[in-house]
């Protein structure tokens, strides 16, 4: 409007202008008043409506909640009072049903969190947690956990039965601790491998091109042995070797070595992990960085194995080329920039020459 004033205008129009601006002002004021009234009306109606509808939904929710809560509680106490748990096979499914209705309850609360006052949300969540704890307790009291055992050990089953009876009271007090102590008798070491030998020459040739032979292999509890594995293998597990010499063709998965003392290993693999090794020499070719952990006095040198067809095997396993990773050793017990005192590079004058294992001469 100010701009209007600056504009040159005919004199006759000036008076008209002033009148219309007054008109405009009053119209604006009327409009504004109307708007304020409208807004306050809206506000009033909202205020009037809101607490009402909110309390309605809150109270209906709370009644639904307490209904299902009491039904869950009564089911639980009924289950708890069942005299002999073994006589009632439906007990487990009943308990499952209870857990499911608790889950439903939880969902109900989650769906209503928007409309509920935060205090109610908190108390409901607390109730749900309590219910879950009770279910847990009842489950422990009523259904003893099954022990895991293999079917062919029929003799063990009898003791398992006894165990259940004697273990029930313990579980109620301390059920999580028992989870780990159970099943410790698991023994099913049926992977192919050499185990528990002393002062022997152990030779294994994996048939090339035969899928069935490409699998894992285990070397464990060997002393003073000379182990020669030719051909590709998928994974190699080495455990508890003393004074052994181990020569292995390409492993196209990983090698895991634990608790070895005074041994020599010649290995090619994608991944190599060495744990608890003492005084061992490793001649390695690896696609990735070898690691050591809890080891000391271990030395590293490049791979130096030979047998008929090793080049083809290495090529097939993607280990045809020297990567230089044999010296990129990570020591998990030495996370510092300076060289770890636990391992070193084997001086060249102390290294083995290329080892040829294709002639089965017991002495190398």
């Amino acid at each position: 409007m100010e701009e209007d004033d600056h504009l040159p205008k005919p004199a006759s129009a000036a008076a008209e202008d002033a009148a219309s601006s007054e008109d405009l002002d009053s119209a604006l004021q009327r409009k504004r008043a109307a708007m304020i009234e409208r807004l306050s009306n809206l506000h009033q109606s909202r205020l009037a409506r809101k607490p009402d509808s909110e309390s309605n939904s809150t109270s209906s929710f709370l009644s639904r909640f307490s209904d299902s809560k009491s039904s869950i509680e009564s089911t639980l106490s009924r289950i708890r009072q069942t005299a002999d748990p073994h006589s009632n096979p439906t007990l487990k499914s009943e308990l499952d049903n209870v857990s499911m209705s608790i889950a439903d309850l939880e969902k109900l609360v989650a769906e209503n969190t928007f409309s509920l006052p935060s205090y109610e949300v908190r108390t409901c969540l607390k109730t749900i947690t309590d219910l879950k704890q009770i279910v847990e307790q009842v489950t422990c009291e009523v259904i003893p956990r099954k022990k895991f055992s293999f079917k062919n050990k029929s003799a063990k089953k009898i003791t398992t039965q006894n165990d259940i009876v004697s273990e029930v009271p313990i579980r109620v007090e301390n059920n999580t601790a028992n989870v780990e102590s159970e099943n410790s008798g698991f023994r099913a070491l049926d992977s192919p491998g050499f185990r528990g030998k002393e002062n022997e020459v152990l030779v294994k040739e994996f048939n090339r091109g035969n899928d069935e032979e490409i699998r894992e292999f285990v070397l464990s509890d060997l002393r003073g042995c000379d182990v020669r594995l030719m051909g590709c293998v998928r994974a190699l597990f080495v455990h508890k070797l003393i004074d052994c010499k181990v020569y292995v063709g390409p492993v196209f998965g990983s090698v895991l070595i634990e608790e070895v003392t005074n041994c020599v290993f010649v290995l090619a693999s994608h991944q190599i992990r060495i744990h608890q090794a003492k005084g061992c020499d490793f001649y390695l070719r690896a696609r990735s960085r070898p690691i050591i952990e809890d080891s000391n006095g271990v030395r590293f040198a490049p791979y130096c194995l030979k047998y008929d067809g090793i080049e083809k095997d290495l090529e097939e396993a993607n280990l045809g080329e020297e990567t230089g990773n044999w010296s990129n050793v990570d020591d998990f017990k030495w996370l510092r920039a300076v060289q770890s005192p636990n391992w070193s590079i084997l001086p060249e004058n102390e290294r083995l020459d290329t080892v040829d294992i294709s002639n089965r001469d017991p002495k190398i």
Binding site: S99, E136, F148, A188, S191, V218, F237, I291
Partner: protein, 185 residues
């Protein structure tokens, strides 16, 4: 910044999930993450520390924390527990000797209160190896039935080497987490 863009931003944030991958060393955690992200898995060094990968999966953004499993660094796992939506426990199904260790570490982990709300996916990895135990056998050995029955869990056999089973596992995990935390959508 307009209101709409703020809302969009919040929405985008909501669709994020935090996934923690743990398990013994040599179980194949890093290989699984790289494989599912379509990366080269032929050169993977044992994880010294951790890797983070952000992957868009269906309509969600997964922040996957892949934490090294060597004994020395297992005690640092707990630094990654906070706000975990999905927990992935990876098992080397061919490493029969260390299944006891595996069960011990898993149940130890599940005692952790900060993980009590997380959905648990167990990958019985390395099923491509001949001597690997089946997912059912792994479930028995790990005593999974003994878990708190409010825990959402599932075991899936897989091979990070071939990629088999990985999508099945992640599909379940993502759906389960989504139905829990985004059910207001």
């Amino acid at each position: 910044m307009g209101l709409l863009s703020i809302i969009r931003k919040i929405k985008r944030k909501e669709k994020e999930m935090r996934i923690l991958m743990v398990g013994l060393d040599n179980s194949g955690k890093t290989t699984i993450v790289l494989k599912i992200n379509g990366e080269d898995t032929s050169v993977i060094s044992p994880t010294l520390g951790f890797n983070i990968k952000t992957i868009t999966y269906q309509k969600y953004t997964l922040n996957i924390w892949d934490v090294g499993g060597q004994k020395t660094i297992r005690s640092y796992w707990r630094n990654y527990f906070e706000q975990t939506d999905g927990l992935v426990w990876v098992v080397d199904s061919s490493d029969l000797r260390r299944l006891d260790d595996c069960r011990y570490e898993l149940h130890n982990l599940l005692k952790e209160e900060r993980l009590s709300g997380a959905s648990l996916l167990i990958f019985a990895n390395k099923q491509d190896i001949q001597g690997a135990l089946s997912p059912d056998e792994i479930a028995k050995v790990l005593n999974l039935e003994a878990m708190d029955n409010s825990r959402h869990w599932r075991i899936v056999g897989c091979s990070a080497y071939t990629g088999e089973g990985l999508l099945e596992g992640f599909d379940w995990l993502v759906q389960d987490v989504a139905s829990r935390i985004y059910m207001l959508d």
